[in-house]
Symmetry: C2
Subunit: 389 residues, 2 copies
C-alpha cells in the first residue's frame, strides 16, 4: 500500500440545499470522500429530518445525525434578498450545488440552471427529485414509498398471493442519491478536462427502473409479468432461505459444482444425480420439489451447525442477521463499517461507515459531529465578507 | 441548455475482468457515461451470465445482454503467458481495471495491486467482492442472497411473523456496483489533480450496511431491534400501501399539512383533528387505528379513481406497478428509461436506460449491441501490435 494521500474529493466544496434523504445521502457520500459540505437549511426548523425520529433523550433526531455527520450548517431564507446574496456568494466559491426540490421549484426561486449557468459556468448543478425535471409527472412530489410502488420493485418483493411488501430500507431515495453521486463525480472529472460544469438531473423513479435487473429481461423475453418470489432468486436454484431445525439459513449454490457439494454436505449426494436437478435450468423448473428435499435434510440440525458445515464445504451461505447481529458481525467490524460521531451531548452515536475503501485514504472510525442548525452560519458569513475585502 | 458536449467519461478506457452482476453493473454505468469498456472473458464459456436465463429464442442470455450493452469482448486465459501479456498491454493503455473475484484471487493470479501499482501507477484498480479484501471473511464467496441476509435488509423486509423475504431485485450486487462506480469516478477526478491512481475495495456486505438507513439509528437509540414492517415506513405515518375497493394504492402523507389534505380528500376531515392523529409521532404510535380508518374510507372507490383524487389534491401517491406497467408508464417513457439494443439476431432487446441525465450529453434510446464472446478479440490484439510497431 502507498502512503496516505489526499481524500479523492479534497478541496471540493458542495453547497447542499437538500432535505431528508436522497440529497443528504448524496452529500454524505461526497463528504466521506473528502468534500466540504455546506448545508443550507430553512431558518427556524431546518432540514425536515430534524423532526423525524428516532430521537435521542434530549430530543434531537438520530436520523438527522446519521445522514449529516461532518457537514456544516447555515440557515438561509432563499426568498430574502440578503440571504440570497449569501447563497450567490457561496456558489461563486463552490464546485457543486445539490438540491432535491421537486421539478420547477428552483426555477420559481429564480435559481434554475438557466440562471445559474451563465453566472457560474464551472458549477456542477446536481438535482435529485421524485420524477425528474422533465415529463408529465415532473411537478409531482414523491416519497420513497411512492417510487418503490410505481417503479416496480414492490411488485417483485414479498410472497406470491401475499400482501404488498415494501423493501425495508428506503432504496427509492438511497439509490437515487447514489446515482446522483456517480454523476457529480463524473462531472468533476470532466470539468478538469473541459473547464465546464453542467447540470445533472436524477429521478427516484428512473433510479428504480435502473435497478429492476433481470425482471425487465424476463418480461421482454417471455412476455410473462414477473411477480414476487418470496425469498428466492428467479433464475438461479438453489438460491434462497431454507428452514433449519431452529431458524433459517440462506444458501446460494449458483452452479452445478456448488450444488453437488451442497448435496454431499446435506448427506444427500443422490440429489445431484437426479435428472430433475441436473442443471440450473432444471433445478429452477423444479424448485418446489428441491426446496422440500433440502429443508427435510436441514431439519437434522440447527442454523449455527449448518452454517459451520456449509462454510467448511465452501458453499456460499449465511444467517439472516437482524440489525443487532449486523453491528456485531466480525467482518462488519473488521471493515470499519460501524463508525461513530460526537452526538453533541457528551456521548457518541453509532452509524454506518463508508463502504468505498481507498487503499491510500484514511478510514477513521470517528466522524465529524452532525451540525446544530446554523451552527456555522456566522463563521461562513464572516469568511465571505473577508473574501470580499 | 448548452449545446451537446463530450460524455463525462469520454476517452476513459476500462479493462473489465468482471462476471455476472456487481462488476458488470459498474462497467455498464461507466459505459453509459462514455467510457470504453473492454470486457475480458474466459475462453470457451465467457461471462457466467451468458448461461443464466432468461434466454432468447436462439438461446442467448437476455440477462447477459441487458448488462453488457455497448461493451467490447476479448477472450483471454489469464493463466496463459501470451494472454497475460495481452492483458498487461491493455493495462498499459487503460485508465481503470475492474474485477469482482473473491478476495485474494488477483494475488494468486499475480495480478494484485502490489504487482500492478509499481508498473501502472496511474491505474485505478477497482475491486468489488462479497466481503472485501480484508477481515475474517475475505476469502469467502458470496452471492446477492447471502449478503441480503447477512447485511440486515432481509430482517427489515416482509411482514411481521411472516416468512423470510428477499428484496425482489439483486440490490446486494447492484448497490455494491454503484458504490464502486462512485469510487472510480472520484479516483479519476483525483488522478487529474495528483497524477496518481489507487485501489478501491468495495464489498457487497459493507454496501448493505451502508443502506440500512434509519434502522441503525432506531437500534442504537432505543435498543430495540427493528423487524419487518410490511408495506409501511417505520417512523412516518401514513406512509404505506392501503387496500381500495379493487386493489391497492400507496399514500405518503409525510407531514401534517399533507395529512390534513388527505383526511379531506377521503371525506374524513375529522381524522386530522383527532388527538391520536395530531402529529406524525402520534400517527406513528397509532398506525394500526389510522390504517383501519383510511382503508374503510378507501372502500368507497377503486384504485384508479382514488389515484385521480389524490393527485388532484397534491398528495404523494401512486399505484403498485408491475414490470409491464412500469415499462408503459408515460413518465418512464418520457424520461427515456426504456432503451433498446440490437439483439444480434435481427431484433431489438428492450432494457433499462441510464438514470443519470446530463444537460449536455446525448441520451439515445438505442444502445450498442452486447458483444458475442471474443467478438473484438482480433481487432484489439491487432491494435496492440500496431501500437508496438
Amino acid at each position: 500500500m502507498a502512503e496516505e494521500s489526499a481524500a479523492p474529493l479534497a478541496g471540493v466544496t458542495v453547497i447542499d440545499l437538500t432535505r431528508v434523504l436522497a440529497g443528504p445521502y448524496c452529500t454524505m457520500v461526497l463528504s466521506d470522500l473528502g468534500a466540504r459540505v455546506i448545508k443550507v437549511e430553512v431558518p427556524g426548523t431546518g432540514d425536515d429530518s430534524r423532526s423525524i425520529g428516532p430521537f435521542t433523550e434530549d430530543g434531537r433526531s438520530a436520523y438527522f445525525m446519521s445522514l449529516n455527520r461532518g457537514k456544516e450548517s447555515i440557515a438561509l431564507d432563499l426568498k430574502a434578498p440578503d440571504d440570497r446574496q449569501v447563497l450567490m456568494d457561496l456558489l461563486a466559491g463552490a464546485d457543486v450545488l445539490v438540491e432535491n426540490y421537486r421539478g420547477g421549484t428552483m426555477e420559481k426561486l429564480g435559481l434554475g440552471w438557466d440562471v445559474l449557468e451563465p453566472r457560474f459556468p464551472r458549477l456542477i448543478y446536481a438535482a435529485v427529485s421524485g420524477f425528474g425535471h422533465s415529463g408529465p409527472y415532473m411537478k409531482r412530489a414523491a416519497y420513497d414509498m411512492v417510487v418503490q410502488a410505481m417503479g416496480g420493485v414492490m411488485s417483485l418483493t414479498g410472497h406470491p398471493g401475499g400482501p404488498p411488501t415494501r423493501v425495508g430500507s428506503s432504496i427509492g431515495d438511497i439509490t437515487a442519491g447514489m446515482f446522483l453521486t456517480i454523476g457529480v463525480n463524473a462531472a468533476l472529472y470532466r470539468r478538469e478536462r473541459t473547464g465546464r460544469g453542467g447540470k445533472i438531473d436524477v429521478s427516484m423513479l428512473d433510479s428504480q427502473v435502473a435497478i429492476l435487473e433481470n425482471a425487465i429481461a424476463r418480461y421482454v423475453t417471455t412476455g410473462q409479468v414477473p411477480g414476487p418470489l418470496g425469498a428466492r432468486h428467479p433464475s438461479i436454484t438453489p438460491f434462497e432461505a431454507f428452514a433449519t431445525a431452529d431458524g433459517h439459513v440462506v444458501i446460494a449454490a449458483g452452479n452445478d459444482g456448488l450444488f453437488r457439494r451442497l448435496a454431499e454436505t446435506l448427506g444427500r449426494a443422490d440429489l445431484a444425480r437426479r435428472e430433475e436437478f441436473l442443471s440450473n435450468e432444471a433445478r429452477t423448473r423444479n424448485q418446489p420439489a428441491l426446496k422440500q428435499e433440502i429443508e427435510a435434510a436441514l431439519q437434522a440440525a440447527g442454523t449455527e451447525e449448518w452454517l459451520r458445515r456449509l462454510d467448511a464445504a465452501g458453499i456460499p451461505s449465511g444467517p439472516i442477521n437482524d440489525v443487532a447481529a449486523v453491528l456485531d458481525d466480525p467482518q462488519v467490524r473488521a471493515r470499519n463499517m460501524v463508525v461513530s460521531a460526537d452526538d453533541g451531548a457528551g456521548g457518541r452515536m453509532r452509524m454506518a461507515g463508508n463502504p468505498i475503501k481507498f487503499s491510500d485514504m484514511a478510514d477513521p472510525d470517528s466522524r465529524g459531529r452532525p451540525p446544530a442548525l446554523d451552527e456555522h452560519g456566522a463563521a461562513i458569513r464572516a469568511a465571505l465578507r473577508a473574501g470580499k475585502d
